[in-house]
Amino acid sequence: MSTTRWKAVLTMPVNQDRDHIQGPADAAATLVEYGDYECPYCGAAYPIIKEVQARMGRRLRFVFRNFPITTSHPHAGQAAEAAEAAASQGKFWQMHDLLYENQRRLRDQDLRAYAEKLRLDVEVFDRELAEHVYAERIHDDFLSGVRSGVNGTPTFYINGARHDGSYELEPLLRALERAAASERGS
């Protein structure tokens, strides 16, 4: 038992009430990303995910979970908190997109400017960031990733199984289409 390999699977199932989700609950393929807003590889994956979503439409459900590696990325924790604070005001995805489109500008004053741009209640936003209201939730995301075998960012899961292949557009699309097809067949 000491040297067995294990299959990395999502240990925390997608939860409609808790997760940030785009796409229908009954989509044939579910793509879960564990990501860090300051990680350049996640930044490179961001437009690819957009393209995958555009091509697959309602057949794809996309879920984003936080995996800030603050040891390497000093702004990643605060950026994740900003996205969660925006979520509490109904604008998670708008903030998520702004953060990935401005990965090199994630200082506190930058986050505040994005909150203003999205017309959030900035007073609430500032207070929630100052009090780290969402730190625990982000840590729960992080731990669920660790337990699911996340070994760097971004790490993707397709229908619950870790996607160890490339996340360039074509291979990712192929993997998602394969998962969607086997879902229909089951």
Partner: protein, 167 residues
């Protein structure tokens, strides 16, 4: 994940083996021995080299997960064949706050004792050991050199230590 490498993966020391003791420098003025952690679990993370991209992600991840390891009262030790000055610069640059041990002279001696030395490359495998409070190997794992093994296996092994004690 599949590996196309023709290398035969190293067979690490299996569970139940007494962990070979060692004493290695962690800083120019300090050495660390396995025996000093008797009474608590120890995680040994062998990695090929400081500065290579995968190692850095792996060690950054372990730094981030360190509080979880500490819930099991476990001590995390990174080990590579790099010298102490490289380790110092690497730890400072990457913000690592756990000991990195220099298996430098005689080169790879500890990696060899744990059956994870890659003679062809002159580095160690990317290998993980969880050693219990009595100094017995409870879990070992060798990852393909280019693949970050993550932390879930370590956490599972630490949990199993608790179960073994309770039963």
């Amino acid at each position: 994940m599949t590996t196309t490498s023709v290398d035969h993966p190293a067979m690490p020391l299996p569970a139940g083996t007494k962990a070979p003791d060692f004493e290695l420098p962690s800083r120019p003025d300090r050495t660390v021995s396995l025996a000093e952690f008797r009474g608590q679990p120890v995680i040994l993370a062998f990695y090929p080299e400081d500065w290579s991209p995968v190692c850095s992600d792996q060690m950054a991840l372990y730094q981030e997960v360190l509080p979880e390891f500490q819930k099991f009262n476990a001590e995390l030790l990174g080990i590579s064949v790099d010298g102490v000055w490289s380790h110092l610069a690497f730890a400072k640059d990457r913000n690592l706050h756990f000991p990195l041990l220099a298996d430098f002279e005689p080169k790879g001696k500890v990696a060899r004792a744990y059956h994870v030395y890659r003679a062809k490359d002159g580095t160690s495998e990317r290998a993980l050991y969880v050693i219990d409070a009595d100094g017995i190997v409870r879990w070992s794992y060798v990852s393909p050199v280019g693949v970050n093994p993550g932390a879930d296996g370590i956490l599972r092994a630490l949990e199993n230590l608790g179960k073994q004690r309770a039963s």
